[in-house]
């Protein structure tokens, strides 16, 4: 669900439909600007992308669409997105004013993705991997049966081809509209991780802002190594839920990547600029030892 939207890059999302109708209507201004959700400064979109969507001024790590993320991590020229038709799913016939299948259709149109995950073959430092990148823009990166199927097939691909698994996780948690079916996806994805683990293949998880609920409580933290992006909010229950349920005062920095590092829950907090190299070093080390 999109209860935790970062609201960082909305300007660009707005700019796209304007540009969409055709070359004739292209605005005079270059492709658009991006406003940092941290310091409020504006940058040209190209400059921002070159900085991997990290603010050059304050260092805030903005959300990265899954396809872009896969491109950031893969060796140049090595990326091959795996086309996956996971079908249309609506196990409960859910309708909250807008039928759930329409919400999916809208998300597909907006993101040009089938579902929450982008699954791709790639090489990182020449080590063959399967990349499983989540897109927070697809219904808040929520985990439904379509996404569960994508991840499970990604794991099977890794096992079949002897590839490592690198998952970039960002999600509000379970896809509520699928009810109990979404809960079952935690077990389905875990079964995928078990298969990768049993095959002796490396599994690296990157936690990006935000990552909560059933995603954190399953494949996001079942990896050999867990990396987190700076300031990413990561946890099981959301901070607001905790405040309301327990009247606990939330400690400073609660549920940030740095907080989890201090509590021994993640291996490292890694700036996006060195994320690829860090993943590469780990993959090289794990391959070298075999």
């Amino acid at each position: 669900m999109d209860r935790n939207p970062d609201q960082v890059i909305r300007r660009q999302d707005v700019a796209r439909p304007l540009a969409a109708p055709g070359p004739k209507l292209r605005p005079v201004a270059p492709a658009g600007t991006v406003e940092c959700g941290g310091c409020g400064r504006r940058f040209g979109e190209q400059r921002f992308e070159k900085h991997l969507r990290v603010c050059p001024h304050c260092g805030r790590h903005a959300a990265v669409p899954a396809t872009t993320r896969a491109g950031q991590l893969a060796d140049p020229g090595s990326l091959g997105v795996v086309r996956m038709d996971v079908g249309d799913r609506d196990p409960l016939g859910f309708n909250d004013g807008v039928p759930y299948p329409s919400r999916i259709a809208q998300a597909r149109e907006r993101t040009h993705l089938q579902e929450t995950f982008v699954i791709a073959r790639a090489a990182i430092a020449a080590v063959p991997v399967v990349l499983a990148c989540m897109d927070f823009g697809f219904l808040g990166g929520s985990l439904g049966s379509g996404a569960g199927e994508q991840f499970a097939r990604g794991c099977e691909l890794a096992v079949a081809e002897g590839r490592g698994l690198v998952a970039v996780c960002t999600s509000g948690g379970a896809r509520m509209q699928e009810g109990i079916v979404s809960l079952a996806q935690m077990a389905r994805c875990s079964a995928g991780v078990v298969a990768v683990s049993r095959a002796g293949l490396p599994h690296i998880s990157v936690l990006a802002d935000p990552c909560f609920g059933g995603v954190t409580a399953s494949f996001a933290v079942q990896a050999d190594v867990i990396l987190a992006e700076p300031r990413a909010r990561i946890g099981f229950a959301g901070g607001r839920v905790i405040e309301q349920a327990t009247y606990d005062r939330l400690p400073d920095g609660f549920q940030t990547a740095e907080f989890l590092l201090a509590h021994g829950m993640v291996d490292a907090v890694v700036e996006r600029g060195v994320l690829r190299d860090t993943v590469a070093s780990l993959l090289t080390a794990f391959r070298g030892s075999r």
Partner: protein
């Protein structure tokens, strides 16, 4: 009936079912342990931080078979509910469960889980000590456990906090129990941004265990005497005991590699 009256009626019925599942007179894990099992010895503590009373467990005899029973306990009165934190485990509860599962595996004892939680505990301490990590690791443990596992949802199976003890070769549920991705209040807060719309969420998300049965996440519904297990808990426990014994009898004849493979395949396919 007008459409809006019909909708209101459906929501009322759906939430009444949730309230029936929450009836405090329903059999709790410790009652099931004392009535269906003998020779129970409690094992406590996660050997890492503490002992979570929301999860209880230890070896016990079920008929003439030694099993490891692990249950989420909600408590039965004001004091025991507080002691057991209303059945909402902290990470220690899940890590204790993992420890007991490993012990069960060492001694080739089947594992019997009793699921009874509205949700895993949401709190600062639980987050600091890795609630998500504890649940995720329990899922991995259960998927790979080399002994038969039978889990039963007693009243509420809510969120990953319930699923963590419900990855099993056979999942049973008392017929008036609910099994949900999150309590209806939480679902309403997320879907409609208003926890007060819990009846609407209950109607939309069909939390009854029959839904979980339809999608194959639950294998058998244990009938309850009218008007529900709370009226005749002992009769209900006896019926549940019979079902658990029957499933264990079947599972104990299956070669353990086949068992683990089938469990993995089952959850690989979960939810279609």
């Amino acid at each position: 009936m007008s459409v809006s009256t019909e909708t209101a009626e459906r929501e009322r019925t759906a939430f009444a079912a949730v309230e029936l599942a929450r009836n405090p007179g329903r059999p709790r894990a410790l009652q099931v342990i004392s009535e269906a099992f003998t020779e129970w010895t409690e094992m406590r503590g996660d050997r890492l931080f503490g002992d979570d009373r929301a999860v209880v467990g230890g070896p016990a005899l079920l008929g003439n078979r030694w099993v490891m029973v692990i249950g989420q306990e909600k408590g039965t009165d004001a004091i025991s509910r507080a002691v057991h934190n209303f059945g909402m485990p902290h990470p220690e509860g899940y890590r204790k469960a993992q420890r007991l599962m490993r012990t069960a595996e060492k001694f080739a004892m089947p594992v019997v889980c009793l699921v009874d939680t509205p949700a895993a505990h949401a709190g600062v301490a639980a987050e600091e000590r890795g609630q998500a990590w504890a649940i995720a690791e329990t899922l991995m443990t259960m998927l790979q456990l080399r002994v038969p596992v039978v889990s039963t949802v007693l009243s509420e199976g809510g969120s990953g906090g319930a699923l963590a003890l419900a990855v099993a070769d056979r999942v049973l549920a008392l017929e008036n129990a609910v099994y949900t991705v999150a309590p209806p209040e939480t679902c309403a807060a997320i879907l409609y941004r208003d926890a007060g719309q819990r009846a609407r969420a209950a109607a939309a998300l069909r939390p009854g265990v029959d839904t979980a049965y339809e999608i194959g996440l639950v294998d058998e519904l244990i009938p309850e005497p009218t008007p529900g297990a709370h009226a005749h808990p002992t009769v209900t426990v006896a019926a549940l005991r019979g079902a658990i014994v029957r499933h264990l009898d079947e599972l104990c004849t299956v070669d353990v590699d086949t068992l683990v493979q089938r469990r993995a395949a089952r959850y690989r396919a979960a939810g279609g």
